[in-house]
C-alpha cells in the first residue's frame, strides 16, 4: 500500500497585516496589537490593496526598549549605512532590518507617561524607506515616481502641487481649500511620477503619508503646475526661471534613502535627474499667499486660465 506523509504548517499570521499601495509598490504593515491595527486600518483605508507585498514593515509594541535590543538605533543621521544594521527613529521608536530587502522591523515603546504616543506620523519615514527599498529590487533603483514634500489639490481634473518644507503653509493651503476650490489629495507628501518613455506626462498620486489634514486620498491626476510656497502679506504668483525652479524644487524632493544604501551621495543624481525632468516640463511658480482663501483661489483661478490659454495657442 502506498502511503504518504502530509506535513502541515500553521499558516495563520501571527500579526494583523495591512497591505498598502504606495504608488506601484505594495507594502505590508504587520502589527501585533489589535487596537493599533484597527486604528491603522481606518487611517489608511484609501490605500488598502489585495496585491502581494513587495516589502513588509513589521511593527511590535514593547513595554521597554532595552539598550541591547537588536533594533537599537545607532545614530540620528537619518541615513541607513549598511544592510543589517538598525537605524534611528523618532522618540520611543527604534527600528532595524530583520530580513534584507524584504522586512523592516521596528519597535515602539509604550510607557505609562505616553501610552498613546502613536500619532503614526513617524510611519511616513518607514513608508518612504520601504518604498525606495522595494524600488531597488523592482525597478533596479530607478523609481517610477518620487516622494515630494507637498500638498496636492485636485482641481479641474489636474493636480496642483503646493510644495514647501515644514511650516511653509502646506496644511494652511489644505485648510483654505473649500469644496468649490478643489479636493485635497494630501497635505504632507505626494508621489510624482517621472515622465514615461512612451510619452505619457507626469502624474501626481496620493500616498499613505500622514499630515495634519485628514484624510489622505488615493487618487492619480496629471500634474498641472507646481507652486512653491512662501507666506506673505499679499497673494501673488510669479513664474520661476528654470534654474531657480530646479534649485528650489530639488529641496522638496524626499531623499530616496533605502535599506542597504552605502552612501547618501548615491541618491543625489537620482534626485537631480528627477527634478530636472519635472521642472523642465512643468510650469513652476512661487506663490506668495496670506490667510485670505478668497484671494488665494482667485489667483489660482487666473493662473489656470492663463495656462489653459497657453495650451490652446
Amino acid at each position: 500500500m502506498h502511503s504518504s506523509i502530509e506535513i502541515t504548517r500553521d499558516l495563520t499570521p501571527t500579526y494583523n497585516t495591512l497591505a498598502l499601495q504606495i504608488g506601484s509598490v505594495c507594502c505590508a504593515l504587520k502589527c501585533g496589537d489589535e487596537k493599533v491595527y484597527r486604528r491603522l486600518k481606518r487611517l489608511y483605508h484609501s490605500f488598502l490593496t489585495g496585491q502581494p507585498a513587495d516589502i513588509t514593515l513589521e511593527f511590535e509594541e514593547l513595554e521597554h526598549l532595552h539598550p541591547e535590543d537588536p533594533y537599537l538605533a545607532h545614530s540620528e543621521s537619518g541615513h541607513v549605512r549598511e544592510t543589517g544594521v538598525s537605524f534611528p527613529a523618532a522618540g520611543q521608536i527604534a527600528a532595524g532590518l530583520t530580513d534584507p530587502y524584504h522586512t523592516i522591523g521596528f519597535n515602539g515603546e509604550r510607557t505609562p507617561a505616553s501610552p498613546d504616543y502613536l500619532d503614526f506620523k513617524y510611519l511616513n519615514r518607514y513608508f518612504s524607506l520601504a518604498y525606495y527599498t522595494a524600488c531597488q529590487e523592482k525597478y533596479g533603483g530607478n523609481p517610477p515616481a518620487m516622494l515630494v514634500h507637498a500638498c496636492g489639490v485636485l482641481r479641474d481634473g489636474q493636480a496642483l502641487v503646493f510644495a514647501g518644507p515644514s511650516e511653509a503653509g502646506k496644511t494652511t493651503i489644505a485648510r483654505l481649500c473649500g469644496e468649490q476650490d478643489g479636493e485635497v489629495i494630501n497635505d504632507e507628501m505626494l508621489l510624482i511620477s517621472r515622465p514615461a518613455s512612451n510619452g505619457d506626462g507626469i502624474n501626481v498620486q496620493g500616498a499613505p503619508m500622514i499630515g495634519k489634514f485628514p484624510p489622505q486620498r488615493s487618487v492619480t491626476a496629471p500634474l498641472g503646475c507646481i507652486l512653491l510656497l512662501k507666506k506673505s502679506r499679499k497673494t501673488t504668483v510669479r513664474r520661476l526661471e528654470r534654474v531657480e525652479a530646479y534649485l528650489r524644487f530639488l529641496r522638496q524632493v524626499i531623499t530616496p534613502d533605502y535599506i542597504g544604501q552605502k552612501d547618501t551621495r548615491t541618491v543625489l543624481p537620482l534626485m537631480a535627474a528627477f527634478t530636472d525632468e519635472v521642472t523642465g516640463t512643468t510650469p513652476v511658480y512661487e506663490l506668495e499667499f496670506t490667510l485670505d482663501g478668497e484671494s488665494l483661489w482667485q489667483v489660482i483661478a487666473e493662473l489656470g486660465t492663463s495656462l489653459a490659454k497657453k495650451q490652446i495657442s
Binding site: 534654474v243 534649485l247 547618501t264 551621495r265 537631480a272 535627474a273 530636472d276
Partner: protein, 94 residues
C-alpha cells in the same frame, strides 16, 4: 615636465539647465550655478585637458583673445577648486 590639470570632483552631481550648469556638492549641502563661461570650463575639466587646451575651446566658443581666455580659465578653475568641486591632478608629460 609636469602640469596640474583640473578634474571635476567625482562625488559632485551636475545638470545642464539651459546655458547654465548646476553643481551639487557631494555632501548635498550646497549647490552652485555656473554661468555660460564657467559651464564650458566645467565641462572641459576632465583631467586630460590643461589650461591652454580649455582656453582654446573658450576662444572658439566666445569672442575673446587667447590671453583673455587663459586668464578666465585660470580664474574659474581657481574659484571652482576653492569651493571644492574641482580637484587638481598632476599629469606627467614625457
Amino acid at each position: 615636465m609636469s602640469a596640474n590639470n583640473a578634474v571635476r570632483a567625482g562625488d559632485a552631481t551636475w545638470r545642464r539647465i539651459g546655458d547654465e550648469i548646476v553643481v551639487i556638492k557631494g555632501d548635498g549641502k550646497s549647490a552652485h550655478v555656473l554661468n555660460k563661461t564657467a559651464a564650458l570650463v566645467w565641462e572641459k575639466c576632465d583631467g586630460k585637458r590643461g589650461v591652454d587646451e580649455i582656453a582654446t575651446d573658450l576662444c572658439e566658443g566666445f569672442n575673446v583673445s587667447p590671453e583673455e581666455a587663459r586668464s578666465d580659465v585660470r580664474e574659474i578653475i581657481a574659484k571652482l577648486t576653492q569651493i571644492g568641486i574641482i580637484n587638481q591632478i598632476e599629469e606627467i608629460h614625457g
